[in-house]
């Protein structure tokens, strides 16, 4: 059969195809993305590389991280930029893929020649990209909420000053869950770094408060149906702790409803399970009366701060946490503030270090390590935070919300101290 295949000459290059190819290449060079590194900049603006999950399983987060980024950069530039330099954010899509995420860091360092990289989110991508950032001596400031930075297992170039980590989050909420929902917990979590943080630290926090984790159910990240996992939930379960991310979330809740009906255990979820999902979606009525952790309350609360109002206004989010132009386009409100806050922290540290170009990179990172506290403000609309320069991790308030009338109502706000734990190392003792 192979002999019938290619007629001689069917792949021959003639003048027309050659010309077409050249025209295509020229068009590619003229495309906006290419120009940036085809013509070298002379260092006037401060360039920040932002790897965004535009595609892949983190795409809904990526969409909103990018919108927040655009709004924050605009605000910074309106206020005179950083140390007098205009800020230019260069976005690259990493497909929520660890390999691609690492390549993007390289591209930022070698082609775009950025001053720092920030905003990386999904923990499996961060874990893959962080060592490369260290090798390239690139400040790498993540918005990921994994425990990887605070574990002091990465390198001195990695920071997480804009969002708290999972260990701190679960530790501050476990006492409330034990006291109000039940002591026998079954955990359902994604089977990779982020989920493992939940498994390890929530289990530890539950045990410390006299509770018991009766079953651990890891879910492979590409899973699309969940019914098959539900029989593993022991009948003695009082609280079902769920943290799911990715495209399967709606299915998860729906199948949970079909499986348990009204005889369900108490549900406590990480809002990650329903980020970017409209709570008024069909099948989600099953979540009515259940509780969620929120990093930042999606629905404007009765006691909403002026800073939160300002943040929503600038990012284009309404009081329900959805896009102002499309109420069906729900934001990842519990996480995306971190991009905003991190940019202002970069600004603060760079200005403290009198940063005007890459030769001051080390001074910039030392200035970042020296920061102690971020008061609640327009720059920090989620609330006051305390930064630990030794572990490069920030600590802040957490919110526990209840689903009432298809909205999340905050019922408990933890103190910053609730989420503190002893340092696991000291980045400042490592070399740059």
């Amino acid at each position: 059969m192979t002999t019938k295949a290619a007629k001689p000459g069917s792949f021959r290059v003639n003048r027309r195809t050659a010309l077409q190819g050249m025209a295509g290449a020229a068009g590619l060079m003229a495309a906006p993305g290419f120009v940036r590194y085809a013509q070298a900049h002379s260092g006037a603006p401060i360039k920040l590389g932002v790897p965004i999950h535009r595609t892949g399983i983190g795409a809904s987060y990526g969409r909103w991280y990018e919108r927040v980024l655009t709004a924050a950069v605009k605000l910074v530039n309106e206020g005179g930029g950083i140390a007098g330099h205009r800020v230019e954010a260069i976005v690259e899509d990493d497909g929520t893929d660890p390999r691609r995420g690492t390549e993007v860091i390289e591209k930022f360092a070698t082609q775009h020649k950025v001053d720092a990289v920030f905003g990386h989110l999904f923990s499996h991508v961060v874990n893959a990209a962080a060592p490369r950032a260290g090798e390239l001596k690139m400040p790498y400031i993540v918005c990921s909420e994994g425990h990887h930075v605070a574990s002091v297992k990465l390198n001195r170039y990695c920071f997480q000053p804009g969002i708290t980590d999972v260990k701190s989050q679960v530790q501050s909420m476990a006492p409330w869950v034990m006291a109000n929902l039940g002591k026998k917990v079954t955990m359902i979590f994604p089977d990779y770094a982020f989920g493992h943080d939940h498994r390890d630290y929530f289990s530890a926090a539950v045990k410390a408060k006299g509770g018991e984790v009766v079953a651990l159910i890891p879910i492979p990240p590409t899973e699309t149906s969940f019914t098959r996992h539900f029989p593993k939930i022991p009948a003695s379960t009082e609280v079902l702790y769920h943290v799911m991310v990715g495209p399967g979330v709606l299915t998860f809740v729906k199948e949970l409803g079909q499986h348990f009906g009204s005889k369900r255990p108490q549900l406590f979820g990480f809002v990650d399970s329903i980020e970017a999902v409209d709570l008024a979606s069909p099948a989600l009525e099953y979540l009515e009366g259940t509780h969620f952790w929120e990093g930042n309350p999606r629905y404007a609360q009765a006691n909403q701060s002026a800073h939160d109002k300002f943040f929503r206004e600038r990012v284009g989010v309404d009081a329900n946490g959805a896009s102002k132009s499309d109420p069906k386009d729900v934001s990842t409100y519990a996480h995306m503030f971190s991009v905003w806050e991190t940019l202002f922290i970069i600004k603060q540290a760079m200005e403290k270090a009198d940063y005007h170009g890459p030769e001051k990179k080390v001074a910039f990172m030392e200035a970042l390590e020296s920061l102690k506290e971020f008061p609640e403000s327009r720059q920090h609309p989620q609330g006051r935070k305390i930064f630990n320069g030794k572990t490069h991790q920030v600590f802040g308030h957490q919110f526990i919300s209840k689903v009432e009338n298809k909205k999340l109502k905050v019922v408990h706000k933890t103190s910053i101290e609730d989420g503190m734990y002893p340092d696991e190392g000291d980045y400042t003792k490592m070399s740059f």
């Binding site: 019938k4 295949a5 098959r228 495209p247 399967g248 079909q258």
Partner: protein
């Protein structure tokens, strides 16, 4: 949960998977059997079916059942058209050469996937099931729609069998598959049969996707798993053997369901792939495959 109900749930989950898998794999097997084309883009036709189903259901907007029924008709037709165009523009020009078509369909895979990404977007979107009732068993509840999926898939497979075994069109397909040159000599329009078979194969994948989308949501990357499982099924069942495909789909689908429930979904995939390796070593033609001509 006790062993009995546990097994029951595992079997039900497995049956849903097997039913949809059988439809999808049947499409792949049909294309290979008649055209000797290994269609790597088959999973993307599946995804396209789901995405179009969302679009149609969204457009109709009225009662979910109405939107779903419209999708059940429109999505396979549109996917069939796309497949027919691809067959005419790409596969035919390559003379259906086995190696060239593999590369071409890999290209097609990316074209369709990226087209879906740039139009439909990266989010997973739900389609409401046409009926939404919960079957309450003493030990657990189960989605009534999932049981409907099994029935619908079985009915569709009977239709396919009837078309292939009892109609003139089916006779042409079988003749073309048996011997292309002789079929041409008997005035069978082989070119048109090829176009039709490729479209039909894609439509079967699309129908499977429309059935599954109220359970799984439409997402631009959802074509990967069905493709892998379809290949496993087609290889185990014997390339080109429809009977083998359906049987293998039942075995793989059921074992995937049962092993996933009792152990882990990853183990199920490992075992299925291992089974492929064993079949390839011991019986390279598959369980029901004819000896290579």
């Amino acid at each position: 949960m006790d062993f009995g109900p546990y097994l029951l749930l595992a079997t039900m989950e497995g049956a849903v998977g097997a039913a949809v898998l059988a439809l999808t794999a049947l499409g792949l097997s049909l294309v290979f059997g008649v055209m000797r084309v290994v269609n790597v883009a088959h999973g993307e036709f599946f995804m396209l079916g789901a995405v179009i189903a969302w679009w149609v259901a969204h457009l109709v907007g009225a009662h979910p059942a109405l939107g779903f029924l419209a999708a059940l008709v429109v999505a396979p037709i549109m996917v069939g058209l796309v497949a027919a165009v691809a067959e005419r523009l790409v596969l035919r020009r390559l003379g259906y050469d086995p190696e060239a078509t593999i590369v071409a369909t890999i290209g097609l895979l990316y074209v369709i996937q990226q087209a879906a990404l740039s139009t439909f977007g990266p989010d997973a979107r739900p389609v409401e099931p046409p009926v939404d009732f919960r079957i309450l068993l003493p030990w657990f509840g189960y989605s009534g729609y999932k049981l409907l999926v099994i029935a619908a898939a079985a009915a569709l497979m009977l239709c396919v069998w009837w078309v292939l075994a009892r109609t003139r069109v089916g006779l042409m397909m079988r003749a073309t598959r048996f011997d292309r040159e002789t079929a041409r000599a008997f005035a069978i329009p082989v070119d048109r049969v090829y176009g039709g078979v490729f479209a039909l194969g894609a439509m079967l994948a699309a129908v499977g996707a429309v059935l599954i989308v109220p359970i799984q949501q439409a997402h631009y990357l959802m074509g990967h798993d069905p493709l892998l499982l379809s290949f496993i099924v087609v290889i185990i069942g014997g390339l080109g053997s429809l009977r083998g495909t359906v049987l293998a789909a039942l075995v793989i689908g059921m074992s995937d369901g049962v092993i996933s429930v009792f152990f882990s979904p990853t183990l199920a995939k490992i075992l299925a792939t291992l089974l492929v390796a064993i079949v390839l070593v011991i019986r390279p033609t598959g369980l029901f495959g004819a000896r290579a001509a």
